[in-house]
């Protein structure tokens, strides 16, 4: 989960998120250099003694400041498109989970190997145990295996919601009447948090998502396979 006042990205828990962090660093360095150049140009503008207002015909400068931005955009676009197509790859998922958004909770369905269906409500402050996270912890977590390609089918029963888990690099809209698909492979075990990311009413901020990622051997012993 994010720590207080965190501005940057969370650590990656999936290969896609690792790629996104790499791309973010790449784009940020380019942005930094552009900002540096602009600040320098601003400084020169404010400190110049040149006051001739009839300057015209700066062909070389015009050529440079047309071609250079085009090159910069290509440098940013190529890795971006690579990752975009990577997120669309579906690598033969071993497990499919349905996630249904409601006002204001999530329903999860594990129907591959049985009929496990449950709701996931935020824990009200009065029900928190010591160590629980306020406004983030839920009564029933989504338990999933690591190092296994998983498909999430996301929809909604009422209004728009969005199922998001930042550390996995996931954010998919839950649209009533439509089934959206996203896939991921988690690389390390742990408990990971997300929040609804599409305004959906009074309690939009109070319907979090909690994934509990565990080793496959332990997952196979759980209720999904023994129901």
């Amino acid at each position: 989960m994010a720590h207080a006042a965190q501005v940057g990205l969370q650590d990656a828990t999936s290969p896609i998120m690792e790629e996104l962090i790499t791309f973010h660093d790449h784009a940020l360095m380019i942005i930094f250099l552009i900002c540096f150049l602009v600040l320098y140009a601003l400084f020169l503008t404010l400190t110049t003694k040149l006051t001739n207002t009839n300057i015209s015909d700066a062909q070389e400068m015009e050529t440079i400041w047309t071609i250079l931005p085009a090159i910069i955009l290509v440098l940013i676009a190529l890795p971006s498109l690579r990752i975009l197509y990577m997120t669309d790859e579906v690598n033969d998922p071993s497990l499919t989970i349905k996630s249904i958004g409601h006002q204001w909770y999530w329903t999860y369905e594990y129907t591959d190997y049985g009929g496990l269906i449950f709701n996931s409500y935020m824990l009200p402050p009065l029900f928190l145990e010591p160590g629980d996270l306020r406004l983030l912890d839920v009564d029933n977590r989504v338990v999933l295996p690591i190092e296994t390609p998983i498909r999430m089918m996301i929809t909604s029963q009422d209004v728009l919601h969005s199922w998001a888990v930042p550390t996995l690099g996931l954010k998919t809209d839950a649209i009533p009447g439509r089934l959206n698909q996203t896939t991921f492979t988690a690389t390390r075990p742990g408990v990971y948090y997300g929040q609804c990311s599409e305004i959906c009413g009074a309690n939009h901020s109070f319907m979090p998502i909690v994934l509990e990622l565990i080793p496959l051997k332990i997952f196979e012993m759980g209720p999904v396979f023994t129901l």
Binding site: G8, D11, D25, L28, F32, L33, C35, F36, L37
Partner: protein
């Protein structure tokens, strides 16, 4: 960027954010690129000034040198970093395979020895 470190974990370095957003301490290759860029900027700017004695133009050359050297170091370092990550991932997979399949017909070492003896 990350959660506070657990006891026993190496402490995350204090973040220094250039222009308020570029975290040079925790972004791989950023510190290295900025430092080399600064050195390149000083060398280029000062060198130009020594030859021409023009202050303004030398400052422009310095800024241009900073941008070019930083960008060059950045791409070079990130390329090597990406190569290293791929090699680490391959090594991790091979170690896992070795542990899982040691002594069986799927043992990667047995396959490798078999192909080299043929």
């Amino acid at each position: 960027m990350a959660a506070p470190p657990e006891p026993g974990e190496p402490e995350e370095r204090k973040s220094l954010k250039l222009l308020g957003f570029l975290d040079v301490e925790n972004t791989p290759c950023a510190r290295h690129s900025i430092l080399y860029g600064s050195l390149g900027s000083v060398v280029a700017g000062f060198g130009h000034f020594l030859f021409t004695s023009e202050i303004r133009r030398s400052c422009d050359v310095g800024v241009g040198g900073f941008i070019l050297v930083t960008l060059g170091c950045w791409f070079h370092c990130r390329y090597n970093y990406a190569k290293q990550r791929i090699q680490e991932r391959i090594a991790r997979e091979e170690i896992k395979k070795k542990i899982l399949y040691e002594g069986t017909h799927l043992d990667p070492e047995r396959k490798h020895n078999g192909s080299s003896s043929n």
